[in-house]
Amino acid sequence: MAAAQSLAPPSDQDAPRAIVSRGSRGDMVFHGVLRAAGLSVLAIISLILVFLVVRSTWALSTRGFSFLTTQNWIFSGNDFGVGGLLPNTILIAVIAMVISIPVALATAIFISEYAPGALRRPLIAIIDLMAAIPSIVYGLWGRFFLMPRMVGVDSWLSRHWSWFPAFKITIPQSASTFVGSPFIAGVVVSLMAIPIITSLSREVFSQAPQGEREGAYALGSTRWGMVRTVVLPFGQGGVIGATMLGLGRALGETIAVLLVITPVYNLQWHLLQSGGGSIAATIALLFNEAGPHILSALMAAGLILFAITLIVNSLAAVVISRSRSGAVTAD
């Protein structure tokens, strides 16, 4: 780096001289290339937005606001919309979160606080591996392994807990009553959200200051007391952010839901009963046979999914960066 001296006139006062450094030509090219790479990420996101908007114009202009409220998917009378698909998507994601948050947090606490040192690294590797298992494998497992084994729980819940409206069964009992329910899809998706929440929370927990931990022990705290009063409050922001990232993943999950669910297009909030769906699974299901109109509607549905996950993920990023633990992990 060439440093050009400033040409200030000599004086009696002791003042630091200003150092102006100008990069060489090679450095300027280098920085230009890097900046272009960084900006290309912004360009990709903007292009995704632009192209989804352009391709969904027909559907959105035909249906207008009622695209968001129509619980149907019939094109002959232009009667289509995500009024059923969107809440069904959110329903599956919420079930997944209810299951995965406690399990993921407990796993994160176990790895960062309880597991003996020799066990810690293999466990971290297992969680990483869990995140890398392809969603199609989770889908196969959910369809052929989990589904038949959950019928017992489903029927028991529907018999004894049917006073709770969401557990009621509204279709006649048959062999396929419990096949492809939102509950099963939620359980499968929860397995895919667990590693995301776990690895981020674990990272945050392990950053809790050692001095405060030992302070808690010095005051006579048990291990759990230390976790409850030091580690959990410290990791609060990071955990909320991690949960939202997991939620984003659960909302956008395609293939596992597609393999497990029995698709319907209206709102179906009876958790245990056959029929449900998500925006992403519907896109994958209908895409390859879609004409231009259906394609436009699918693009519009994708646009809505994109907007929702982008909002959820950005909120997560803000929560993480604002929190105390986030400030530590930011670098």
């Binding site: 450095d27 497992w141 017992g152 291990r223 994708g302 959820v312 993920n313």
Partner: protein
Amino acid sequence: MSAGTLPQHGGGQLATGELATAESAAAARAAQHDLAVSDQPLELRRITPEDVLTLTGAGLGSLGLTWVLYEQVLPTSGAFGFWVTWYITFLLLYMAAAGLQWSRLVVVDKFMAVAVGSAGVLASAVVLEQIGYSLVKGLHAISHLNFWTQTMAFAPPTSSLHVGGILHAAVGSLEQLALGTLFSVPLGVATAVYLAEVGDVMERPVRTIVNAMTALPSIIAGLFIYAFAVLTLGLPKSGIAAALAISIVMLPTVTRAAEVVIRVVPGTLREASFALGASHWRTVWNVVLPTARSGLSTAIVLAMARGIGETAPVFLVAGFTNEMNLDPLHNWQATLPTFILNSVLFDGQFPNFVARAFGAGFTLMLIVLILFTIARLLGGGTPGQLTRRQRRKLRREAESG
């Protein structure tokens, strides 16, 4: 956060010598692996026979109780429900047994230890279960040699497992993964270097978007490539379109992981390079990137493991075929995930197709596991730490003069 200034090993040294060395060795190992935590906790745990006996007693007792109640007395059935019931019974029984011996504080402490520990066990069990289940179910198919060497071109839906295989899908998967890696790695690493080394006004928005892209639903990447490359640019539905979609999925993963490893390269190395008069790009090229090489390879391999399992975007833009297609630029191409999806969704009524799907699922898991092992082997050391081979090479060079 400097390890040297804290008296963290004080407790360990007070204990017996053997314990202290074991602990500090474990602490040193942990410090090596987890750079972020440089101050090490004291080891406070002791496992007593009472702990072990209470745990086993509660486990076995609840197993028996659940079996009697669930299978014999109550009108309940199903394996899933059995294990959920067993777990709840186990926790209650453990709490009762602990309550007889210890004070309330200790009971809560032990109870939470068991609860979080079982979550760790559950997560590990799920992973092992996924691998084992796809192996067991896929065994029918993968035990036939033709499964690895043939395509499905001449295998009608009703054909036995002695005909047809997944060679075409495996080739498609590997080609698309290679192309996707080729597109995403240079861009991802350059973006990571930008975030870690340059960092001007645009750093914050770029970082936010990269983080948000990590959780971008992969089907959106497929929709985008279809709308952009296929409908607008006129690219055919083909392997290369799928590779573009895969690279969009891989890009944020590569970038985030690469940025982390570039940031842990010690600043003193950079300053030494600058002090010798090197320009910024020379420093990055000759000092920063080589130092972070092992971490970068790990980042890339982990992103590849994610890329090969991508189903939804490939399903949208690569089409599907039963024949071998070596050319990623033209015509539809099958991949392992789309082969599984088609076999289950459209040919699910033929048991042999389901068996093939599981065989392909096992192949996919195998590839992911291999990539994972490579990543672990590459990423063993911290930045700047030499591998055994590098040390040997240095020694040889020193000896030869």
